[in-house]
């Protein structure tokens, strides 16, 4: 009985240690907007990246960007430039920087920062309109950032 409780207390701590291998949002090193180091050390999965980019509940990048390679994704926006050929235009490190915090590359851009934890003005709890107390998780996880970067690298013309 006592042992079980102890295990219960220890497990999350272990998971926490494992996650330490990831670079935390505040520790990401930007050099002229680019991030050379993988955030996780685990190669990104482009298929998962495509999902993150088109899913409204995740990156929803297509809200602002068109991607011709995703003809099945309806209603692609045009607030940002088309991402066709992004893998030609940018190095992987630059794309990692843009997706993590585009404001480091494009000063004052409207593009949200996907791997940043604020502070934000009147930060809310997702789309509830209610306040969120404490430190918000970033919009995407470190691995999701790597997945998106891996997908963007496939966008060659």
């Amino acid at each position: 009985m006592k042992r079980q409780i102890l295990m219960g207390l220890l497990l999350p701590a272990l998971v926490g240690t494992a996650a330490m291998a990831e670079t935390a949002p505040a520790e990401v090193a930007y050099e002229e907007g680019a991030v050379a180091q993988s955030l996780t050390g685990t190669p990104g999965n482009p298929d998962e990246g495509a999902n993150v980019m088109s899913n409204r509940g995740l990156g929803n990048c297509v809200a602002c960007h068109a991607v011709s390679a995703m003809p099945d994704v309806a209603f692609q926006g045009n607030v940002g430039p088309s991402l066709d050929g992004a893998g030609d235009r940018w190095e992987e490190a630059q794309l990692r920087g843009i997706v993590s915090d585009a404001k480091m590359t494009f000063d004052g851009t409207i593009m949200p920062s996907f791997y940043k934890v604020g502070p934000y003005i009147r930060q809310g709890d997702a789309f509830t309109g209610k306040a969120f107390e404490g430190e918000l998780p970033p919009l995407l996880t470190a691995q999701q950032i790597e997945d998106v970067v891996a997908y963007l690298m496939t966008l060659k013309e």
Binding site: R56, V62, A66, F75, N78, Y120, I121, Q123, G124
Partner: protein
């Protein structure tokens, strides 16, 4: 729709709005007021809606918002509260309200604060009729604002921003450019920098409020200005403000002033 289809239709529709074949609406101007630095031309939200939605607004029989106007007409004539009075007791026909919407919100000298139409209505109800205040977003309230707006249709919006209104206007302007929430988006990011563009399926307008209250097809009901503000701020993943809050009253004044010169359209039809 194909992608190219989307960008091909991204501009505001080149169209004119005449309601009931007689009210000529100013839905666009070549020159925004000088005090609006970020806008050169002005467009009503009407220009950014699909053809069928725009057509609905051209005839009161097709405009579902007019059902709210009709309902409010009944309320206008009905006595309520301890004084046994109706709106009609003091104001006669609702046409007497012609011009009122065009200058709202305005500074209420007697109360010493900025007053929206909702506040004037509730002041009459509580202080003059002995009736209960209506909630900001209740059907009674939104319908009544639709009735009062409808008799000003075609008149140019003309809210005052100077004198005692100035500090409210400044506050609203500051809010307009504040990047709220986890997405760090300001009103201007969407409605000044990107009107005409698509954000996913939404064709971004200038976020003008000359058409309010707006009948939203998606909700199948009339929506107040503050309700729309609330939704837009919520969509930035922010803690929003409440309808009727001092912040939204100030923002309403500022946004109304961005539309000075456009015709009052309420109740308009949007998706």
């Amino acid at each position: 729709l194909t992608l190219t289809g989307l960008s091909a239709t991204a501009d505001p529709a080149d169209d004119t709005l005449v309601v009931n074949g007689e009210i000529n609406m100013i839905t666009r101007t070549d020159k925004a007021p000088d005090y609006i630095e970020g806008l050169s031309e002005q467009y009503s939200g009407w220009h950014f809606r699909e053809d069928d939605t725009r057509v609905m607004q051209a005839d009161d029989f097709d405009n579902p918002g007019m059902l709210g106007v009709e309902a409010a007409q009944g309320v206008w004539d009905t006595a309520d509260g301890t004084e046994g009075k109706a709106c009609a007791t003091c104001h006669e026909g609702a046409e007497s309200m012609a011009g009122v919407r065009a200058v709202m919100p305005k500074f209420n000298e007697e109360k010493g604060e900025m007053y929206t139409m909702e506040m004037y209505i509730n002041q009459c109800r509580t202080e003059r009729m002995g009736a209960e205040a209506w909630d900001w977003d209740s059907a009674d309230m939104v319908n009544m604002t639709a009735l009062i707006s409808s008799v000003s249709r075609g008149m140019p919006m003309n809210v005052a921003i100077d004198g005692p209104a100035a500090p409210y206007w400044e506050q609203g302007k500051e809010m307009y450019y504040t990047r709220y929430g986890q997405l760090e988006l300001s009103c201007s990011n969407c409605h000044e920098d990107n009107y005409g563009n698509y954000i996913r399926a939404d064709h971004l307008s200038q976020g003008q409020i000359n058409g309010f209250p707006v009948y939203r097809l998606k909700d199948a009901k009339l929506s107040s200005i503050h309700n729309r503000f609330k939704g837009c701020i919520r969509d930035t993943r922010a803690e929003t403000f409440k309808p009727g809050s001092p912040e939204f009253i100030a923002l309403e004044l500022y946004v109304a002033s961005r539309g000075n010169g456009l015709s009052v359209e309420g109740p308009s039809v949007r998706n």
